[in-house]
């Protein structure tokens, strides 16, 4: 009885080991997708492109997006594509794009590509976004265009305005995505609008911050650090102190290097809110 039992045990272990080996490839794919939720699939006759993000949806503001390209005929994920994208807002009277990054491979050996798109407005009943993805595989160009859903948020995370220098700016909240009662690392994106289709990162400004709690006497918090760039082309980084949970309004001022304020007001006993701000609640 005993040796027989041992044999069965060995057999079982071997089977499990084998099973794990054969799954290895799939597991890499799964690991890449860990923490991501599929937003949607776009397809043409040759390929299907799957869009992913942490939240599984596209919303007003800053969106980190990952994608992968599946060859419809071979059912194999394409690892060597050159990818670019162009989101377009179709308004009643005009079309425009928004700030976006290039699309890069996450890892050489992996299947995922990544980039960001900062939607400065959400869709509505009569106005919508579409996304065009152009990609090249082994010298052959392909393209997919499809309507996408960009949902509104109940908190303000984007400010789009014309500064006192008559330049149109966009400022978006990036991080912390999970704010804490602590000094948080703050990340903000600032872009200029050169024209309807071009939104380069704006360099060499300062985003002054003043977090306030309007429900609690509009009090502020200590030891905040205004957001600045570490190098041209980078996002703006600062420190955000949050002394309690709840609803915070982060009042903003956009300042030039010489200190000139381009937009936003300082909070005083009579000025409760700046004209540009972010909202967070946790």
């Amino acid at each position: 009885m005993k040796p027989y039992f041992k044999k069965i045990a060995i057999l079982l272990i071997a089977t499990i080991a084998f099973a794990s080996c054969s799954k290895e490839v799939n597991e890499t794919e799964m690991n890449e997708l860990e923490g991501l939720t599929k937003i949607r699939e776009l397809s043409n006759s040759t390929h299907t492109i799957e869009l992913y993000s942490k939240k599984g949806e596209l919303t007003l503001g800053f969106n980190e997006i990952k994608l992968r390209i599946l060859d419809n005929s071979s059912d194999i994920l394409v690892k060597n594509a050159q990818v670019s994208w162009l989101p377009i807002m179709h308004m009643m009277t005009m079309n425009h794009s928004c700030p976006k990054s290039t699309v890069e491979k996450v890892a050489d050996e992996g299947n995922l590509y990544e980039g960001y798109i900062m939607f400065q407005m959400a869709e509505n009943v009569s106005e919508y976004w579409d996304l065009t993805i152009d990609y090249t595989i082994d010298g052959v160009d392909y393209s997919i265009t499809s309507e996408i859903n960009v949902l509104a948020t109940d908190k303000r995370t984007v400010n789009s305005f014309t500064g006192s220098d008559n330049v149109r700016y966009l400022i978006s909240y990036l991080e912390p995505t999970e704010p804490k009662v602590a000094i948080n690392d703050l990340k903000i994106g600032v872009w200029k609008m050169d024209n309807m289709m071009s939104f380069p990162i704006a360099d060499d400004y300062t985003v002054k911050i003043d977090p306030r709690m309007p429900s609690m006497g509009n009090h502020s918090s200590p030891n905040n650090v205004n957001a600045t760039q570490s190098s041209a082309g980078a996002f703006y980084e600062g420190k955000l102190s949050l002394t309690m949970t709840g609803y915070w309004k982060i009042n903003l001022q956009l300042a030039k290097a010489d200190g000139t304020i381009l937009k936003g007001e300082e909070i005083t006993s009579t000025v409760e809110s700046s004209s540009i701000f972010f909202e967070i609640e946790f």
């Binding site: 804490k180 009662v181 602590a182 000094i183 709690m213 429900s215 609690m216 006497g217 009090h219 502020s220 918090s221 200590p222 030891n223 102190s241 949050l242 002394t243 309690m244 949970t245 709840g246 609803y247 609640e281 946790f282």
Partner: protein, 664 residues
């Protein structure tokens, strides 16, 4: 008045408070202790003029103790003009820490007068038997019968006070025999709002309290005993008219077990070891208050484990006292604010970030008899004090202010003192010098946006505070003759790194309507001088006249006034006693507070004087006794407030009381 060389006078309470036990008092004077006796044993219980007064009222009679009053309940004792942080209040040697960030639950609020036998008050550093103190200590000693001839005594107490319709009902059972004793005491109080003069109702001054206390002792061998003790105290619906919040629940469970050896014919007089645990829950909220800008809850919890082992022995002319003691305390308090917009998330913070305090200390004292009339007492106390912030949420919150702060802070605390006593033929005098240190309290070190409604500032703790230290000198002199007794007393404290909150103008207050934010920091130096004078005159066998006065002054290094320093205060009484009848007329007053500091929310409190009268009689029916105590406080219904009434809330107007005590 500002000149420190002015002679200040006060009075000492001995004669007045503890006339019932004169021999004992005399020896205690020599030991530099003041004892507020509270009906020690059933036989003397009756001798307090108001037998069922609150513990706060009793302690307040001492010239060394003042009370910060935020309402009708749970007054905060200040010893030698120093509040809780600088003093040490224990119950039978147990360390207990209030769970309220606003000091609305001093330790004294968790006991009842009927289960205490005495409160031992010690001045300054000499009170550091159970831990570090600068200002002094109060040890609340509980009533217990101790072994003896078999006896069972049952008492019923009931009382009523007209002003706030306070109803008092209690009962105690005391049993003893040769090897066993048992004391049980239950007391309930229920009071409605009190009224100041002219029937002006002071809203939110009601309270309800139930207190249960039990001590059980048994002899395990000759001269060895084990004693268990439990106190359960539950106060509900307690109003604090001087604050913006009330207390829906203050609950304490205080337990201990003690092993004691009293050897016969040994150099060891007594050795006792006690292990204790206590847990306190305190729930502050403002749900009953209308028109608050924002509703909030502020619950707090405090748990303490500890032990002490105290050995007394005598060797030739030395009397040694050694006490090893440790405690581990957890203090946690939260604040949740409810936005007016119900869709908004709750606003939450930790006001005490789960701070653990671990203390290990030793106290050594040697009293050496220099001659038949004099002795010299030397003592030293050493302790390790470690604070750890265990909540990551709380630590990160504090790191907003102190980014480099680590979760642990260790301190070494030391103190030492020397006291000389001399007494001969009714004359006695005493000199003492001492050096003492203390660690910051949890609020001073780790408090997060604690609103002080007295000065109107939010307070932030500072984990980097230095230990506060003080050099102390004290002196007393007295004479007792057949017809009179007189005593003068002075103590002087010179502080270094005196901990106090300072306004930081760069910070924005969290509390709606607050004046700003203060962060705890240290003054380089500060001084406090306390003086008192008491005179008791025995007019004849029936009448005794007593007067006690006290005066104090406290200054910062910029010669500004420290807060909560008593102006000239006085009590004068004429007491009549014949057989089973006692009566007393008593004048209590304060001079105008001339040394105040608006910076700390103080304003000038006008002088006042009120008159109290009382009378008592003991009826005997066979073996049963009925003690009747009755009196009128604030006889002329004066409108007044003292310097230590939080936000100048008016004190009680005229109040008639009757206390009954039946002994079976």
């Amino acid at each position: 008045m500002k000149n420190l060389s002015t002679v200040f006078l006060i009075f000492l309470s001995f004669g007045f408070l503890t006339a019932q036990n004169k021999e004992k008092d005399t020896t205690k004077i020599i030991q530099l202790k003041e004892i507020v006796l509270i009906g020690k044993k059933a036989a003397t219980y009756q001798k307090e003029a108001k037998s069922l007064g609150t513990i706060d009222e009793y302690l307040n009679q001492s010239s060394r103790i003042n009370m910060i009053k935020r309402g009708a309940y749970a007054w905060e004792p200040i010893i030698n003009n120093m509040p809780t942080e600088r003093t040490l209040v224990t119950i039978d040697g147990m360390r207990i820490f209030g769970a309220c960030t606003d000091k609305m639950d001093p330790i004294t609020s968790y006991v009842e007068v009927t289960n205490l036998s005495e409160a031992v008050v010690q001045d300054g550093q000499s009170g550091s038997l159970f831990g570090n103190t600068i200002g002094g200590s109060i040890d609340l000693k509980r009533n217990k019968t101790i072994f003896g001839e078999k006896k069972l005594e049952v008492q019923l107490q009931s009382g009523f006070e007209s002003n706030n319709s306070q109803k008092i009902l209690g009962s105690s059972v005391n049993f003893k025999n040769e090897i066993f004793y048992f004391d049980l005491d239950v007391m309930s109080r229920n009071a409605e709002n009190y009224s100041a003069a002219n029937n002006q109702e002071v809203l939110y001054s009601q309270f309800n309290k139930l207190n249960f206390s039990n001590i059980l002792g048994f002899q395990i061998k000759e001269n060895k005993l084990i004693e268990t003790s439990i106190i359960y105290d539950n106060a509900t619906d307690v109003g604090y008219p001087a604050l913006t919040m009330d207390v829906s629940l203050a609950k304490a469970l205080i337990t201990s077990i003690k092993y004691e050896v009293i050897p016969k014919n040994s150099i060891i007089e007594n050795w006792e070891t006690k292990i204790y645990f206590n847990t306190i829950k305190h729930v502050m909220d403002d749900t009953t208050r209308p028109n608050v800008p924002i509703h909030m809850d502020m619950p707090g919890w405090s748990e303490t484990f500890g032990y002490y082992s105290k050995l007394k022995y005598r060797f030739e002319k030395h009397h040694f006292l050694v006490n090893l003691n440790s405690f581990y305390n957890k203090s946690l308090a939260e604040m949740t604010m409810y936005p007016n917009n119900p869709n908004e998330n709750l606003m939450f913070m930790l006001t005490w970030p789960d701070v653990r305090t671990f203390y290990n200390g030793v106290f050594l004292e040697d009293t050496y008899d220099l001659s038949r009339n004099s002795n010299l007492t030397l003592n030293i106390s050493l302790g390790s004090h470690i604070n750890t912030v265990t909540s990551e949420f709380g630590l990160e919150s504090l790191q907003i202010f102190y980014p480099e702060m680590s979760d642990t802070k260790s301190r070494f605390l030391k103190s030492f003192g020397a006291n000389y006593h001399f007494s001969k033929l009714g004359f006695h005098c005493h000199f003492g010098v001492a050096y003492s240190e203390r660690a910051p309290s949890v609020s001073e070190g780790y408090g997060f946006y604690l609103f002080n409604s007295f000065d109107g500032y939010d307070n932030i703790g500072n984990p980097n505070l230095k230990n506060e230290t003080a050099i102390e000198g004290n002196f007393s002199i007295g004479l007792q003759k057949k017809k009179f007794r007189i005593k003068a007393n002075a103590s002087y404290f010179h502080f270094y790194d005196y901990i106090i909150a300072h306004t930081d103008f760069s910070l924005s207050p969290m509390t709606i309507g607050a004046n700003g934010v203060r962060v705890y920091s240290s003054l380089d130096t500060a001084t406090i001088l306390n003086t008192s004078l008491s005179v008791e005159y025995f007019i004849n066998q029936f009448f005794t006249w007593n007067v006690q006065t006290s005066y104090a002054i406290g200054k910062t290094d910029d010669n500004e006034n420290l807060p909560f320093i008593s102006p000239l205060s006085y009590i004068s009484s004429l007491r009549f006693k014949k057989n089973k009848f006692t009566s007393e007329i008593k004048l209590v007053g304060n001079a105008t507070q001339s040394n105040f500091n608006p910076e700390f929310g103080e304003d000038q409190t006008p002088n006042f004087a009120i008159l109290n009268i009382n009378a008592g009689y003991t009826f005997k029916f066979g073996t049963t006794k009925l003690m009747l105590k009755t009196g009128v406080e604030n006889l002329f219904d004066k409108n007044y407030s003292t310097y230590s009434d939080w936000n100048n809330i008016p004190r009680m107007g005229g109040n008639f009381y009757v206390n009954l005590n039946y002994v079976f």
